[in-house]
């Protein structure tokens, strides 16, 4: 093979690879849409308050849509905080997350502490819901406490 012939072949291969990569990515697109935040509501000091995944008013809801398998991982905060740094302990355990259909039927229970493989299909939307437990103590001061949960959705490569 001459250098000219080889160069032409490599250029052709390279050009051929671009459209196929673009096709693969567009077919595998995933979207995340937060629908509802996790809200513990009004709490008293020295109490333990759990929000279950079945608590439609207070659980967090995120809509996921796309195709194929995705790995869902959460970066969970250990506390809710006021702007001045006062804290309420947060706890999450297995069963504090679930996958639902948009009609509310449970597809499966998830462990928010683990990476969960979820199968998305035909661009249909599924709902990822999250609960948790807030633990106040006798020294917890009145105020508004907040935190953010990061949701990482990774679609494995082919």
């Amino acid at each position: 093979m001459t250098s000219r012939t080889g160069r032409g072949l490599l250029v052709a291969l390279l050009l051929a690879s671009w459209p196929s990569q673009t096709d693969a990515q567009s077919a595998k697109s995933v979207s995340i849409n937060p629908v509802q935040s996790l809200s513990f509501g009004l709490l008293l000091p020295d109490r333990r308050e759990a929000v279950r995944v079945t608590d439609v008013a207070r659980r967090a809801v995120v809509a996921l849509s796309g195709n194929g398998p995705v790995d869902v991982a959460l970066v969970l905060p250990t506390s809710l905080e006021t702007p001045t740094g006062e804290r309420i302990t947060l706890q999450f355990s297995a069963g504090d997350a679930a996958l639902l259909t948009t009609s509310g039927s449970t597809i499966g229970t998830l462990d928010p502490l683990q990476v969960n493989r979820v199968q998305l299909g035909n661009d249909r939307t599924v709902l990822f819901v999250l609960g948790g437990t807030a633990i106040t103590n006798a020294t917890t001061h009145p105020g508004h406490y907040t935190a953010r949960v990061a949701l990482l959705v990774n679609q494995p490569g082919t």
Partner: protein
Amino acid sequence: MNRSLRLIAALGMLALPAAAQAQSITGSIAASADIATVFSFGAPSPLNFGSIVPGTAAAGSGYIPLSRNVGVIYSLPDGATTGQLSGPGPAITPSYTCGVGSTSTTIVSAFSSCNGTTSVLTLSSPTGTLTEYVIFNGSLTAAQTNTVPGTYSGTIRVTATAN
């Protein structure tokens, strides 16, 4: 292979791993809670001088608990008539010591006055929820009890304002 060919080959090698690269997206969920203010009086224990033999001194003690997790300003809205006793004879004004204690028996922080019209004690926010007791200790002199027989009663009104 010349230099340009090697460059194209290198680009091609870079492109192939990219085609198999995983796709990642990130979302965020807000979480929140509100801690309630605790600020409420409990059931009072009346100050009762009991049945008094006319012409003898008498004493009594009463309290009302307050649970709170914020600061407080105490005041006595009735001022000079706070705890004044009315009955069949002339009104009787006992002399009082008053203030706040961590138990119902001992005053730790005294009010600046037991019949003042302005705020009589300000306490800061505690480290946690606590229950403290507003205590009034009253006393009657022998001269005050030497009066018309009958039941004498009154009210000690205490206002607590969250601070």
